[in-house]
């Protein structure tokens, strides 16, 4: 019984992948499933001790939720992401079901629809924790489900429609997607052409959408669609909830991408698709405005979800460089390397502070379009810099598929494009600063 008597301590003191006895290995496997996966690059950093922890916008309860999310990430996601990346798709229904059951997919949604009735800062806490997922594709799928396809729907949708589609999305039984971009118009949202005409009690929808995250497995799409042909293009659009199984909806293809491979990104065609007019979300003609409003949450979410990924990459790079020797010393000992990492971490903290401030203002009811655009811009740019500079310090290893940094490099590149490009963020910021030719409309 000697080896049995102190196995807990043995297990703890041991270097990670060192089996001592079959007992310890099997225990380790059961216990550590997920927490310690084969991930070679970024090791999960230690979970916060919820007992005391708070941080600006986050209370103890936020950290409790983050820890719950983290447990699920470590056990239900990270052990499988390599497979999902290879397959080019993660199982949205199975994964969302687990998170929905845990209560994480409707943190700021009304309890009447299965939400937790908390405020938006809780969604941000969850978004930040999602940074522990080892693949950006899965992270983005969550974002679409909780903070991109649903904000306007939750706010303006009818009770019946929400019972039918929002509640199952919060429970994780339905996968949602949001359709804004088209082949001919991505940045230029007002110029999207998909349209619907009224016929009897229905809308008849024609057109297509491009780059739709979750598009290949979604149960419904929150579709931005022209319904008011006689109005100017900013006032001609509406949000319509379209079940993806409706006749006439065709998922044309899953786009093959350089990164976010575990996320299905689809092109979708709509050919005489009939949905009842009661599937209209809020008021007709308000679609563009709802979308701009909804972008605030989407963009804050994007920034928050990028933070921990950056922390982890910087940390794992420092660890790798501390072990890697060149010219008789650890490469980390070169000032260019540790200074760079120190500076990057400083920038990450600055972004974190900006994000928390924007979220704090938003939860107290302010319009934070300006700050949210700054967060999104900075997150996209910084993630690219972090990925690029850190990858460099890994040398040839960084260019291999063996380590997470190469996937991180590919995945984060998207952050400056999807959800509004850097250039569009700059347009908004300049407009609000009153320094661009198109002045911001006074609120």
């Amino acid at each position: 019984m000697q080896s049995v008597a102190c196995r807990g301590l043995i297990r703890r003191f041991l270097p990670q992948k060192e089996p001592v006895s079959s007992w310890t290995t099997s225990t380790a496997r059961l216990f550590l499933a997920g927490a310690r996966t084969a991930s070679t690059a970024a090791q999960p950093s230690k979970q916060v001790d919820v007992e005391e922890k708070t941080d600006v916008i986050f209370t103890n309860q936020h950290f409790e939720i983050r820890n719950l999310a983290r447990k699920l990430i470590d056990s239900e996601i990270n052990p499988h992401v390599d497979k999902w990346e290879a397959e080019g798709q993660f199982p949205g229904h199975a994964v969302f079901k687990k998170f929905g059951e845990a209560g994480l997919l409707g943190l700021n949604r009304d309890e009447a629809y299965g939400g937790m009735g908390l405020d938006f800062s809780y969604n941000i806490a969850f978004a930040e924790e999602l940074g522990y997922i080892d693949a950006g594709g899965v992270v983005s799928a969550f974002g679409v489900q909780t903070d991109m396809a649903t904000p306007a729907f939750a706010k303006y949708g009818s009770h019946e429609l929400k019972k039918q589609y929002l509640e199952p999305a919060i429970r994780g039984e339905m996968v949602a997607c949001v359709g804004v971009s088209e082949v001919e118009a991505g940045s230029d949202v007002a110029n999207t052409k998909t349209h619907a005409v009224r016929k009897g009690g229905d809308f008849i929808i024609n057109g297509h959408k491009m780059w739709i995250t979750n598009g290949a497995q979604a149960d419904w799409i929150c579709l931005v669609c022209n319904t008011e042909a006689d109005k100017p293009k900013h006032l001609s659009k509406s949000h319509i909830l379209v079940p993806m199984k409706s006749p006439g909806v065709t998922v044309a293809k899953k786009i093959s991408k350089m990164g976010n491979r575990s996320s299905d990104t689809a092109q979708i065609f709509f050919e005489d698709v009939k949905v009842p007019q009661t599937n209209l979300i809020g008021e007709a003609g308000m679609g563009f405005i709802y979308q701009m409003e909804q972008f605030q949450e989407e963009r804050l979410w994007c920034a928050a979800s990028a933070l921990i990924g950056m922390d982890r990459i910087i940390k794992s790079t420092a660890e790798y460089c501390a072990e890697r020797k060149a010219f008789g010393s650890a490469v980390l000992n070169n000032q260019i390397i540790y200074f760079t990492l120190a500076e990057l971490q400083t920038e990450v903290e600055a972004l974190r502070a900006l994000t928390y401030r924007a979220v704090a203002n938003y939860t107290q009811g302010d319009d934070v379009t300006l700050l949210a655009s700054m967060c999104k811009l900075k997150a996209g740019r910084l993630a690219r810099i972090v990925a690029d500079k850190c990858l460099q310090f890994w040398g040839g290893m960084g260019y291999s598929e063996e380590v997470l940094i190469s996937r991180y490099f590919r995945d984060t590149r998207c952050l400056s494009i999807a959800g509004g490009t850097d250039e569009i963020m700059l347009h908004i910021i300049a407009k609000y600063m009153g320094i661009s030719p198109e002045k911001a409309k006074k609120k």
Binding site: A5, G8, L32
Partner: protein
Amino acid sequence: MSLRVLVGVKRVVDYAVKVRVRPDHKWVVTDGVKHSMNPFDEIAVEEAVRLKEKKIVSEIVAVSCGPPQSQETLRTALAMGADKAIHVEVPAKDAELLSPIHVAGIIAKIAKDEKIDLVILGKQAIDDDSNQTGQMVAGLLNWPQATFASEIVQADGGLKVTREIDGGLEVIQVKLPAVITTDLRLNQPRYATLPNIMKAKKKPIDKKSPADLGVDTKPRLEVVSVDEPPVRQAGAKVANVEELVQKLKEAGRI
């Protein structure tokens, strides 16, 4: 059956934390380190909840002996499905010196006070690995015990428990009241879901001290020294099989 179950839940340094020996060599560093429920206790709570779902159990009382933060552990037990909780508060400094006989005394007393039919404890805590508390509780109460359980089913007015023993399984029948300790393969504990975490905040936690229960927690053991295990020696590369065989012979391994 409508059993009242007591489950013991200990707050320990989280299994994923790499522990460090404290400079005074009396214990490991616990300040600022993530703690969570002892994994074997999670299994105990899960089993109690499953028995309740099967209507074999009517009420689950979670008990934790330890510092004020043990309440967090109790909240987790409540969120997993325990009905009420008792915190036997022991200041952090003393909690370190609490040993199985003290905890067993406390649990045995509460088991009597609460008219408990079944005590389910983890077979051991992953911090001190004592593996004694369950056995001592059974001794103090003079109840039958079924340790290292990997399956519990209702049978013949009592419980049929499968035990993990060296090289196999043993099935025993115990009469109630009884004490069971859990082994790793008994079940896969559930997550406390968010709605349940919220609800757990409203469930009662009763606070007591060992003195209230008439248990003397004066230390009976002295920790002489806690040390890291010896560092593993670096390996060496060999060029070919011949060299390998030769080295093994030199080392007296073959």
